[in-house]
Symmetry: C2
Amino acid sequence: MRTATIPDVIVGRLPLYLRALSQMAGEGKEITSSQELGEQLGISSAQIRKDLSQFGEFGKQGTGYNTKYLAEQLRRILKVDRVWEVALVGLGDLGHAVAHYGGFVDRGFRIVVLFDDDPAKIGKDVGGMPIQDAAQMTGEIRRRGIRVAMLAVPAASAQAAADDLVRAGVQAILCYAPTNILVPENVQVRYIDPVVGMQHMTHYLP
Amino acid sequence: MRTATIPDVIVGRLPLYLRALSQMAGEGKEITSSQELGEQLGISSAQIRKDLSQFGEFGKQGTGYNTKYLAEQLRRILKVDRVWEVALVGLGDLGHAVAHYGGFVDRGFRIVVLFDDDPAKIGKDVGGMPIQDAAQMTGEIRRRGIRVAMLAVPAASAQAAADDLVRAGVQAILCYAPTNILVPENVQVRYIDPVVGMQHMTHYLP
């Protein structure tokens, strides 16, 4: 498979290209250029051309990129030309916001099961789904063959919840808990921590 | 200033080191090593030693790092040895969750003003603060000298809100809206988009 050798840092930029291209296509813009994409994303046009050339010939010299076609190709490469079923673990304030968010399906993800270990929450409905007992999580995720999960539990519970997810067969975890979790090598984790982003910026503030 | 020449990719890892070290220090662990930090963070110990050496001599060969001391130094470098006042714009589900989140202050940030343009929300109390009319935002932020903002508005409103923030003197924006915003060169933006993280992972799923 050709994409197996693409550097991870490039793979990480593809979702940004896809987001910008989908937006352009949605606004009826048929053609764009690496210059235009670059200005929007704050990435150099040379970098964009180089990144995209790793995956094949998407644009012709001088004619630019067809937004819809390139978005389709990126969806295929990122494997979001399908919709992944997602388990959401932890229904605190953030988990509720995530469960209610309407922007996942168009981009390849649908939250289909909710879990929490708080008896006061179990059985309640959020976004049309019942919150299920976390004690049933491993069986339920395995039964449904779910491989992607979002973890919105407190930091102190994150490792135990991640262990359960891994045991259930989950291979990709988006972790909102402000801590690092340890997982086997065949499992991927990406973190969402707003403070990490803000501290990165304050370093540069005069 | 010595830190001015540190590559941005290294600066971006420092908040992760700080988070792990703070956690260790909080658990009463006085000494750690680049090996231990690396295992926890999934970063090689050589990389960690190299990153930290950019900022000075934090550990002695063979004795490891003092968690509390190194955390203090990283706080100073990241300029979170103080607490930054933050404006939060957009009080939808996500904005509410962000406003209620208790984990910012210990890490250098305190949300002090809330803005939304929805008349049904203005005046309501969230986390002990009233939601203020976004029409007053520029004046209020300028008056208070706030330089950091979190943007939790829908994608379609993000650019206009960012323009207002920039006009008010904000220099660092954490953008939760799933879109790219254009800002002047002296303003920093970092993005929080869960789908970008998930699409990055699905690329690798077999």
